[in-house]
Symmetry: C2
Subunit: 297 residues, 2 copies
């Protein structure tokens, strides 16, 4: 790589032009229209404070519409983030659950971690578990029955977890669906949540499409037990007619997500982040760059 | 879950209205404008054949502009895909590399896999490696020097790999940057590629922003050695002024990616996919649903 030495005359000339342009722009900024094509790229808070704050507010609004427990709202130490798809949300929660488990049990236990779901659960959970390094052998697809409306039986879950533990395995993650894609099955969150808690497993509630219905008081009972969940996701880009892509993910303890996904890079360092007083959404998702989705929701 | 019994009179009435609406729409479809707001959701080929075929064609075009070796084009068994970000592309290639290595060495070796990069490499590689279950202890950040234009030294890489192997570790993945974010450093792909090949590691070329410049013959030499790569990515959403988000990822052997990311679900089964004669881009990325990005590129 051959870099030419700096020509200071050119630099001064160019810089002066740039500064004049910026000054002029700044002085006249009120005369410019706000163009809808301009999209902020809110890596972190400092890159777009308004986009970040708005996203946090909108997630709290949506959480309140769903009557989520306080623990999922920013005001109570929880909080939400917008992803492009449930798949991404699930990958992130699985990574957070995995890293919490490895912290407790040691890194070499990664081959012992087990994920539990029903035969109605969306296949993205199997894909996501494999992505974060969980062996497909350790993904339990538990049978459901029409006599139980295809809901995942807490008894079955307990039996399976106990059998796994007796084999030296570690229960990592339980998925409860509210509206499975194939059958619309609703898992009993309350029952599954108590078991997940007992065995120290992460409970994720996947309410991708049916979650929207739970905004209505007469359907809200399907989310009963969500207070046991570590995370819950739903897609406004389904029944809420928001355009693709828009998945809401709420965490009881966002720090676990951030611990798993944060990166320290000199190029992104800034005072606001260093003070830990702002949300850097880059640490709540897989990618660094991100779309601004709060307004459309 | 209490489902109300079906009222056949309502059903017949509603269905008849729906069919009338559809028939009318079909008969008059030529009178409707094609709205730019309508975006196909091309999970797989059958969901949107045109979107899929167009994406494949555009990726081959861009590959030819970069003068990539034939092996990365669909006509030669390779192929490309559009992702939202380099981060996602890297996660997918790391997962494919990991699963190939685990197939060879056994699943329990996941704690032994090592990723190599320079101190100029984008931090997304560390985040991505952690995401797919590679211990941060097994991520090697090799030092670079201004006297070598901050390029990763093949000698240093060889020494580090050999030291790791002597400790019972398995070299998994080497990242070569063409235009590192912090310094613009270009790694010697040719030299690094020969070593990666010798030790059976996956070579990824990250040409996120500088790759665009390699379209120009006078800069193309920075990609020399890309024929050793398993994958290469670049972002038209940087210097090519395509709007966010648009990352191109090419694979020498897309089957490895598909093996790692594919999912078999009854709800997505179709004849075209079963015949293995089409591209199902859902198996080339993290998420199931996807944006249509080919036209803007």
């Amino acid at each position: 790589m051959n870099l030419n030495p700096l020509n200071t005359e050119t630099l001064q000339n160019d810089a002066s032009q740039a500064i004049n342009y910026l000054s002029h722009y700044y002085e006249n900024v009120h005369k410019y229209p706000v163009r809808s094509e301009v999209e902020p790229v809110g890596f972190n808070w400092i890159a777009s404070p308004a986009a970040t704050e708005l996203e946090a507010i909108v997630l709290d609004w949506m959480g309140k519409l769903l009557n989520l427990p306080q623990q999922f709202l920013f005001s109570s130490g929880g909080g939400g983030v917008m992803h492009g798809s449930t798949c991404e949300a699930v990958v992130c929660t699985l990574a957070a659950a995995r890293d919490r488990a490895l912290d407790t049990h040691g890194e070499e236990k990664i081959t012992k971690l087990v994920v539990y779901a029903s035969d109605q659960t969306h296949f993205t959970f199997q894909k996501s578990a494999k992505l974060v390094g969980i062996s497909p052998r350790n993904f339990r697809v538990l049978p459901t029955y029409s006599s139980r409306d295809f809901g995942l039986s807490p008894t079955k879950l307990t039996e399976t977890i106990e059998a796994d533990i007796s084999q030296g395995l570690v229960p990592l993650y339980v998925c409860a669906s509210v509206g499975a894609t194939g059958s619309g099955a609703v898992d009993p969150i309350d029952g599954l949540g108590r078991i997940a808690k007992e065995f120290g497993a992460w409970l994720h509630v996947d309410a991708a499409f049916a979650g929207s219905a739970c905004i209505c008081p007469e359907y809200r009972h399907y989310l009963n037990g969500v207070e046991f969940a570590d995370s819950i996701s739903m897609n406004p880009h389904k029944w809420l007619l928001t355009n693709m892509d828009c998945t809401c993910l709420w965490l009881r303890n966002p720090k676990l997500l951030v611990d798993s996904l944060s990166t320290n890079s000199e190029i992104l360092r800034n005072k606001a982040s260093d003070l830990n007083e702002v949300i850097d959404y880059k640490d709540w998702q897989i990618a660094l760059s991100r779309r601004f989705r709060a307004l459309k929701l």
